[in-house]
Amino acid sequence: MLVIGAGGAGLRAAIEASAAGVKVAVVSKSLLGKAHTVMAEGGVAAALANVDDRDSWQVHFADTMRGGQYLNNPRMAELHAREAPDRVRELEAWGALFDRTADGRILQRNFGGHRYPRLAHVGDRTGLEMIRTLQDHGIHRGIDFHMECTMTALLAAGGRVVGAVGYDRERGRALVFRAAAVVLATGGIGRAFEITSNSWEYTGDGLTLAYDAGAELIDMEFVQFHPTGMVWPPSVRGILVTEGVRGEGGVLRNRLGRRFMFDDVPDLYKSQTADNEEEGWRYCQGDKTARRPPELLTRDHVARCIVREIKEGRGSEHGGVLLDISWIASRMPHAAEHIRKKLPSMYHQFKELAGIDITREPMEIGPTTHYMMGGVRVDAESQMSTVPGLFAAGECAAGLHGANRLGGNSLSDLLVFGKRAGEHAARFAREHGQAAPDPAQIDAAVIALYAPLDRQASGWSPAGGETAAAVGAMGVGAAGAASAPVAAGAELGPYQIQRRLQVLMQAQVGIVRRQEEMESALAQIGELERQAVAVAVGGNREYNPGWHTALDLHNLLTVAAAVTRAALERRESRGAQFRDDYPGKDEALGKVNVAIRRGADGEMTVTRVPLVPASAEQRRIIEEIQ
């Protein structure tokens, strides 16, 4: 069995599969322990009810559905809420050390959209604790780790996925894995945008591998813009500022000093939200009778309010708003010490990178591209995609979060569904065994792999199109290469193409969207695709980032097109999607997910698929827990 990705979901899947007795290989784009899970700060959501005994899986389920504007797969939301507590306790048995309550149990903190304090955490470095625990547990379980390898194509035979082709960064050798089942755990697509909290790795690899293999993607229009990224200095723009700051009492203010989040509370959350500063503070201090402050509304809403303040001229000096935790000094003794203890890496990050002491002054923040709610459409129980033998878990899978993800639900997502994917992929692998891929498929994938280097070496002219035609026909490598009219050669290098795409997506398919801009974006993505299939890179095969970037372009462009097409299809505003031209909700669109698939002609097709219906019991829970 092959697991692609070694973040939390990939590691958890590999551990489960190896425990089931299946031989597992894990490939990761970076070194072990460096995946994006390490960046997660605030905590992992699980209804342990250690801090507030009113919490239960039912409330967590209802919160997740409400946060996702009911576009979630309710079965996934239920499994997630039911199983998260066991997954967290299991981590503790593997050596993770969470912060504690007074009676020695796992401590939980408040977070946006969660009704009760629910996030198990370790200061603000929960992700590091989790990935290190999984990594250190995993290395003793006979899993075969291949670090710094990237997969570029899946292999199919007899209507199922039977392996993958890629390369190792160190030597640039082509790698072929034969596997009875493949789990995608490749994370998100943040690198398709200009301002992002994501690292170079998040280029939509898993989504594109799945798409190219014929699997369906859903909810691609829902990209989460985290409300609080750093904005100054320019080089740190987009780096995440944890929601934990607001969970600990941090407040948002505009340039005029106004706590603008009180000005616009959505009806869906009115009954749960404090209407004065005093009550909000009491909530952050654990007063069970208090309602949460409006800063802890869902991320989509907070991000939009911040954009509104900036657009209407009430933003801060460098085009953000102010996030202030230092103010708690007026409410508690030893506040500076408390902040440094509860938010050590935020303290460090601002001190080192911006020269700001957050215990004394406010932070300047603004929205940053953070998370992909959409992804590979999977079966709730097994995490299998619409292509047999291909599974997906974590950020690259879709369904749990619907139109908007709650903070803390991603770490629990990757534990719950990483385990499930590992378990079911292992079962599938045992039941079906290995099958031989078509050698022609392997050849085509390898040709595509070296194409950018070969073009440079031979002064290859894309007008000939031989390589591109072979690649396009196999469904690997360059997007639509076979059918698209090819430009007379790439005028841009790989970094320039990537950069243009990022600027384009940020400006025209970002937080606020409208029809004409997105249509124009789609045309420009098409032009960049034509450039990308002709891109040539210098240097050799050994650890050559220019070549790697050139290979990532196909993935970035594919997911960028998918996001844009899905966003065009959803002519309404809901969750993370805000359409300036359709600011309201549309009842019919509230009943469907938008699905993206590669059509028989190789073109991207967009369809509406009905939501997975909630059971009578699930509906009852949702209605009861208002």
């Binding site: 050596g95 504690r100 080192e352 990178l353 790989p494």
Partner: protein, 255 residues
Amino acid sequence: MARAVFRIWRGDAQGGELREYSTEVTTGMVVLDAVHQIQAESANDLAVRWNCKAGKCGSCSAEVNGNPRLMCMTRLSDLPLDRPVTIEPMRAFPPLRDLVTDVSWNYAAKQRIKPFKPRPPDAPDGTWRIAQDDVDRVQELRKCIECFLCQDVCHVLREHRLHERFAGPRLLVYTAALEMHPLDVENRTADLRGEQGIGYCNITKCCTKVCPEGITITDNAIIPLKERVVDQFYDPLAKLLRVFRRQEARDGGTP
């Protein structure tokens, strides 16, 4: 701001040289930004590892003007830009290409350390009760982001190349975190003295100085471990006790 000159080591296992690049410097830029800018502008194939760009993943370790640093946390405004900034790969590890080194030894050596082994659960539901104080005591050691800068600067590894006999500061911090874990019941003292070669450390504290997470490696991890080794192996009473135990085992052993 103006342009600055960077001398970046380009090469591979066979050898290499410092090559000069110039790029524009803007407010707040860190060394990694400059490397990326140079990569995009004039050296597309310049090899460099990075991920989070916020000092949390420990990927972009290098030697900046001779100092082991995370490139993402080194601001250009803190460096003298009137002369070239030198950027070289970590020297304690074999070079792969440009700024990328072969750090796989760290992973292999870690795998040989006895894993976490918890005591039986405290509560019937399979959970444990742990005091926050006990968590706090070990948290400092668990902050490690595995950037391996401490390994890079350690003279036992860097100059004496004793990778096969000495685990280095990072893995001693890891072992200390396991040994001081409130639930762990494994004993790694014999391995510390043997395979991990803790005796090679002569407490020069170079590792502590370069740790980007500010972990007091020598004082809070290595010295306490050295004390455990001493307690178990050099305490005269314990030594006597071990002799007796061996005697007993021989007497009571199967023929």
